[in-house]
Symmetry: C2
Subunit: 584 residues, 2 copies
Amino acid sequence: MLMKKIASPADVKKMDMDSLKELAEEIRTALLNKISQCGGHLAPNLGFVEATIALHYVFDSPTDKIVYDVSHQSYTHKILTGRAKAFLDPTKYHSVTGYTEPNESEHDHFMVGHTSTSVSLALGLATARDIQGESGNVIAVIGDGSLSGGEAFEGLDNAGEYAKNFIVVVNDNEMSIAENHGGLYASLAELRASQGSSENNYFKSLGFDYLYVERGNSIESLIAAFKLVKDSTKPVVVHIHTLKGKGYSYAENSKEGFHWAAPFDIPTGVVNWGNGESYSNILGEYLMEKIKADPKVVVIHSAVPAGIGFFADRRKEAGKQYIDVGIAEEHAVALASGLAKGGAKPVYSTHSTFIQRTYDQLSQDLCTNNNPATILVTMSGADGMNDTTHLCIFDIPMMSNIPNLVYLCPTCVEEAIAMMDYAIDQTEHPVAIRIPNGVTHRNAQFDKDYSTLNTFRVDKLGKKVALIGLGSYYTLAEEVAAELAKSDIDATIINPRFATGVDVSTLENLKANHQVTVTLENGVVDGGFGEKVARFYGASNMRVLVKGLKKEFYDKVPYGELMERNRLTPKQIAEDVLAALKSA
Amino acid sequence: MLMKKIASPADVKKMDMDSLKELAEEIRTALLNKISQCGGHLAPNLGFVEATIALHYVFDSPTDKIVYDVSHQSYTHKILTGRAKAFLDPTKYHSVTGYTEPNESEHDHFMVGHTSTSVSLALGLATARDIQGESGNVIAVIGDGSLSGGEAFEGLDNAGEYAKNFIVVVNDNEMSIAENHGGLYASLAELRASQGSSENNYFKSLGFDYLYVERGNSIESLIAAFKLVKDSTKPVVVHIHTLKGKGYSYAENSKEGFHWAAPFDIPTGVVNWGNGESYSNILGEYLMEKIKADPKVVVIHSAVPAGIGFFADRRKEAGKQYIDVGIAEEHAVALASGLAKGGAKPVYSTHSTFIQRTYDQLSQDLCTNNNPATILVTMSGADGMNDTTHLCIFDIPMMSNIPNLVYLCPTCVEEAIAMMDYAIDQTEHPVAIRIPNGVTHRNAQFDKDYSTLNTFRVDKLGKKVALIGLGSYYTLAEEVAAELAKSDIDATIINPRFATGVDVSTLENLKANHQVTVTLENGVVDGGFGEKVARFYGASNMRVLVKGLKKEFYDKVPYGELMERNRLTPKQIAEDVLAALKSA
């Protein structure tokens, strides 16, 4: 087996063309075997096997530096840079991450996971090279889908006037995660149709030299092209046309479905997405109903439509009331603000980790204008994605301190729906709703009136200890109450509903017969909800325990361990409460 | 006088060409008179007089909706939409803001102040128009300088596939605030040189129809062009070539100097920038010294180089060690991360209000990678710019809750320099430094060791009350101490230095003989530094007063009033401390 013999890219360079092709097939098989068992970015990796081989054949990594965008397509790169075992030996499958990781290899330069960053990061390496008088090529790899992100444009524009070696490989597989959106994609199609000769050339308009490779899954063609640009002294784009999902028919035919796949059965292509309720399905159904009931409702998404259940048929059904802006979160929020100003009812949805890409638009374009757009922040909390680059635990600090924004945190699916009903139809505020990962239901009735901001609801009035369980940690509050009951403490349970402020009268009332207040939030505590409560009680006798995660870029820490580490199990919390009561 | 007769755009439409030209001259004179007395965006407004007249002549505002980017060029728009008195009558000069403001007029659709937003916001209006079956043109105005911002690209790309009326007026005055940077600008120059016929057409590559107007200060040419595109049913760019500063020779010759001008003398063009020390000058001198001393130091800026004293001569002197990326804050941070990874010593500087434009790059591109770039956050605090859109009071909540980032807050200029020395030469962390507005000096020696993170310094050890004065509010802590001394309280004064964490041992020690701790920070308290201290002391006896601004988009509130409102005068704080002591 050729794969086993590759200790470093030097071993790739020694191979003849037949061996390189054989290697590509071996890698493809290994990718299928591993990803079908572990889940992962299947289709992007299948499409970039040959390009990665050609890059390592022509360039000399790590002297020549390859910077991957998102780096979800870097599996072959890992295989060729000494990490093949992690794709061949099932016991080693989890020894590498799904993205580039400098701690794994000198061939990986950045930890990345969000899109549209590779050009800027690589230009930093190129500039550092040049001011230090070093040599070597710098190559940024970026997919066509990632080009729609503003950061990629800013990087390309700036690189376009760079007077030294800088190579951008545009991996054009005609797809973002779903289909591409944006005028740019028509001109990319023209470039493909004209073999690169169309006048409409985005890259040239930004100052790049340009080379087109139609056969982007042909190792020969790619090697020839990369040799042409190696050691170039001007910025150059190599636009390669690849096939997403290449070599696995189910992925070739369902590029979106296999962009990231849960474990699947290779012969049948059946993916095990798990069953049971998911917010993705629930949101998709709910939003479709709203769309049908009200022509003013416009659902906006940025390139991960499956995240809110907008699969292809639903997108079609929604017609003009569904807008996928592509990977362009900044535009999405500003567009929503404009839509709201114009009298429509926009609902923009994105995962917590991606809402980070649009802070200024939330603040300036939306909130200074106080336009009544609805923002759904999905997959939020520590109990979901746990890659360092995809943590969904920073949205409360980021959003809850922006004036005018109302950030609602539902405790269960019924409350999420009530909050969406409120948000979409009101006309007073920008309202964001923090959608949890796991679906929970509550039997209790809850108050659906959100018109008075920052009003908490006391669901159970006890004494001594008050537990304020924000959003998905409401159930944790209930568990802590059960734990405290063992010590004969009848704790008060509060659903705060709002992350953006405190309920002064409710908190004041607690002072009479409570000594300890505990806040529970499913995210980092630094800058978050609990600290507002701690500040409120700062000048009083009340003891406050702010419970949540310590700020940190947690790296694939299992949820249970994360809870233990942060003293977030019901038992640990109860212990801390008892200790606080003793000292009070 | 024609200006006085204009109650609404309808009055413009009645004028003949001679009158329109006369009107333009009157407006130009009024702009000069007002701005020379009040300060303001002179050159951008002078260049856009004719275009604004032509827009209102051809289109029917507010049915047709004009959305200005930044809106610093909207003075003529204000004059033509019923607000001429604010430019003619010195007693009314302050009756309008310097940006579009929906509360002033139905002709203003958004409150804006940051760049690169107009296309997305306007596309929202156009989309709302179409889904509601309304009519009217939507026109986004954007300057060439603003095109370098990622949000503008995202908006253009998305608009490029919009199938209905959508007009973008690109106001090309060949300048950003300083000169333009980016490959795009070479192709804009080609378009100008070829009267719009060059093949390299960025706008066409994004799917726009395209029209070029060389004489962008000719009312006739502009009216003809706007008539051509009025009611167009496809997205179209009208690229107009204007002269920044038009009609005032000093502004034409010093476009950057008169982009925003303090009050000036019209006959001589001498601007009264005030004298005395400024951080801008100090940073410029300091960074130039670093550049000369160390070839690895690279200063990065995003289009406001005067903000750190990088005037044209200094930019030239710095050579390759100075990079102005244009208005592209996201790219700037990612570039800095790449430079640091590559072994250089990047220093990126931008104003507090603009650092908001790059949250995800700080978090993902820089901090997950823990690369040792230096970020200077200038003009920070409430005592500087006070337009709603330019507040510099949100950076502590936004930045201090990002893991790995070290956010230092100097109390005086000497400490700012010590912190920069530390930040630039260390290789452990991304370090941001919060540069205040006003320059203060301290006679006392202070500890320049920042190697142990989150170590506070007790400058004066008293008892009962501890005052923790962060950064520029250290002097406020001193003033409060003086106030408390009148009540025979010998307060402890602490310089916390770090906004990103608390000094556990210092805070623990205070418990022994302090009953009240006061935190003081020059920014909003929500999600900020003081709340971390409140959380720390949550389970203890210590009373904590978190002092700073309540989160709000303050609109041109004078600093003194802002302090009073937030109970931030030394007297008010002392009163609150005494009350807290009494209850403790």
